[in-house]
Assembly symmetry: C2
Homo-oligomer: 412 residues x 2
């Protein structure tokens, strides 16, 4: 009997009318002959409200007690969904994280260590539906734990892996992963399939709600994920392993999608001495401070002359990074720290890139044709990214979407 | 080291400002050298909101899942109070019903079967404060259970009994038990001490929030209860056993207070045949339907003539009672069922009554002087009650309060 996990986010659970709609979706999967576990988020806005209460109670709140407070949101929606399913004549019951149990370590951003499935096996054997609160687990010393924001996706994937589900369906307020942001490119197309790696690189393309951590987990367990709309009744996007698209790869576009990310800031250090070890001396303190440096460009100086180093860090880490660099300025002996936040990283992503030359060249030419200045470049096996001034975001995404043949046909 | 349980109701927990105020109260008891467990209700209005959600989800909701939903309200306030106490530098932690555990049986109106105190003993040994959600427990098969509305008082008393506390303080939005409703009689006095039995009979006199069930439990374990205000800083009313007031009984007023209760409805059956067994035939179906018949008056008919029977039932059970009586009307052969809801039961309560004659006579005289018609009478060892037309409620309460010498001195 096929076994699936269905996960519904906060927007899908916001109020009894929507929960009824969710229950109807669940019923359909059960009637189609599936064994179903449902993972639910708290009602939209509820977790924010609870977090705010903790903050008001004490600015430095105990993460352990924070978990007690915020875990209640999913407890409420799982009970309500179980009641609603029962009201439709279905055999459903809720199981809290501490009841299964979902074993976790840590607090406020706990990690799932394992999920016991004996209880679930009994539920499925008896033809039942299990409703499980996302985002929560229980620690070894019997305390409530929550997984950090967006953790319900991770709960769903971990549960699907533990119960050896055939599929994990993530219901959200978008209907799948798109070739790019449809608000920028009206001709963006919904993708039928993407690979885990593409999805990780396309993090900013549609389906933003799907937590990166959960995609990584699905990849590790080779668990097919589907992102689909809880409001519209049509197939979403399957997120699968490379092997699952091997047969289709010939017919696939080389590029799967165009992503953009405004959460990067550019840092330029001028007057760097031309000594061996200078670059290492700059990045060591940033690494120690857990700052994730992404794109790096070093100007090639004439021998013995000072050079310029440019790199990007997450915007949220910019102030912190500058402070760390100021500490080593005298020791290293560079001149200025120049920062720039009005930049955007635009990426072309696709597993087909591995076997196709000229992808990067096409990107540079396309942008050059529009006189868009490239500030930095990085490439990985399945991605080419450029850093450009933020004002060109929409133009760059549109021309690249067209250049790589991603635009939908008219009327599609 | 003295050990106390402090219980705070929903009004006291409604929002972070009030929770901070509660925390300050707790700190004072800790600093005074007490070992303290705190039992909290959900924020005012929250349980109603959650119950309403369950009702919307399905009109016949599963009590087991209802418990999952409504238990969340106290989970939130216990976490928030623990955070607030920690923010004041106190060593506090929350313990859910399933963590201690508080063992319960049943759902939606579960009974507490026992409370394991090992965890609490460790907390107290380490100088800690335990914050415990009221109203909840865990069943033998590891499901959440709630105790029914107002159950947090019962949680507090049961916990105090289990941990052999010296006292259980119930903080509410009134500052104690009064000789009668102060809104009716401005000269009502707050009582320093009442006995459990008096408190049970005085259920409608001040401190209405204190659940009857919890007073019965305190009586069984001879646990001193105190009702006091969470907003004003002064002693409340101690609720104690008879033995604790024995020494004072000579100086005490014979009557402790005047109660009134508008939740009774009067039923009159006319034309009852004068057969043996008629009365039993009437009350049997009501007992079977769990209707609690209170006052009963039967007119004494001339031999062989039909008589009239009057009795009271809770107003909420009136429609149901009439329906049950209609079923047996033909079998028993009475004429009419006349109902009257505009009646009130007024009671004089006091343990001193046991050893004093003339209490009932004074009541009848006092009411007769004001031309108040008595529809029915009942007496118990410590109570005399009369049923009168509702419009006389305030007048009757005032004149009886004066007649039994309960009015406060001027300026008190």
């Amino acid at each position: 009997m096929p076994r699936i996990v269905m996960k519904f986010g906060g927007t899908s659970m916001a109020g009894i009318e929507r929960i009824r709609h969710v229950a109807a979706r669940v019923r359909r999967e059960v009637e189609a002959g599936n064994q179903v576990a449902v993972v639910v988020s708290a009602m939209a806005g509820e977790t924010d409200r609870l977090v705010q209460l903790c903050r008001e109670a004490a600015s430095l709140y105990d993460p352990r007690e924070y978990d007690v407070v915020v875990a209640s949101g999913e407890q409420v929606t799982s009970g309500l969904l179980a009641i609603t399913l029962q009201g439709m004549g279905l055999n459903a019951r809720s199981y809290m994280g501490w009841q299964l149990p979902i074993r976790a370590s840590g607090h406020a951003a706990a990690l799932i260590e394992g999920i016991d499935v004996e209880v679930l096996e009994r539920v499925f054997d008896g033809g039942g539906i299990a409703v499980i609160p996302g985002f929560q687990g229980v620690t070894q010393d019997n305390a409530l734990a929550t997984l950090g924001r967006g953790g319900s996706d991770t709960s769903a994937v971990a549960l699907a892996a533990a119960m050896k589900a055939d599929r994990c369906d993530i219901y959200t307020d978008v209907d799948g992963v798109y070739t790019t942001d449809p608000r920028i490119v009206p001709r963006a197309r919904k993708l039928d399939k993407v690979t885990y790696e593409e999805r990780l690189e396309l993090a900013s393309v549609g389906a933003k709600v799907l937590q990166t951590r959960s995609v990584g987990l699905a990849m590790r367990y080779k668990l097919p994920l589907q992102v689909l709309s809880s409001f519209e009744d049509r197939p979403g996007t399957m997120i699968v392993g490379d092997e699952a698209i091997e047969e289709e790869i010939m017919e696939r576009n080389v590029i799967t999608g165009i992503a953009h990310d405004k959460n990067e800031a550019m840092v330029t250090l001028t007057g760097l001495p031309d000594n061996p070890g200078t670059v290492a001396a700059i990045f060591a303190p940033l690494a120690a401070a857990n700052v994730n440096v992404d794109m790096i460009v070093q100007s090639v100086p004439r021998r013995g002359e000072p050079s310029v180093l440019t790199f990007t860090v997450p915007t949220a880490a910019l102030a912190h990074s500058v402070a760390e660099l100021e500490k080593v300025r005298d020791a290293i002996g560079f001149e200025e720290i120049v920062t720039e936040t009005h930049v955007v990283k635009v990426s072309a992503v696709g597993v087909g890139m591995r076997s196709t030359a000229g992808i990067a060249a096409k990107m540079f030419e396309t942008l050059a044709d529009r006189n868009i200045n490239i500030l930095a470049i990085t490439t990985s096996e399945i991605k080419v990214s450029v850093l450009i001034p933020e004002e060109y975001t929409e133009l760059a995404v549109r021309v690249l979407h067209t250049a790589y043949g991603l635009d939908a046909e008219d009327g599609e």
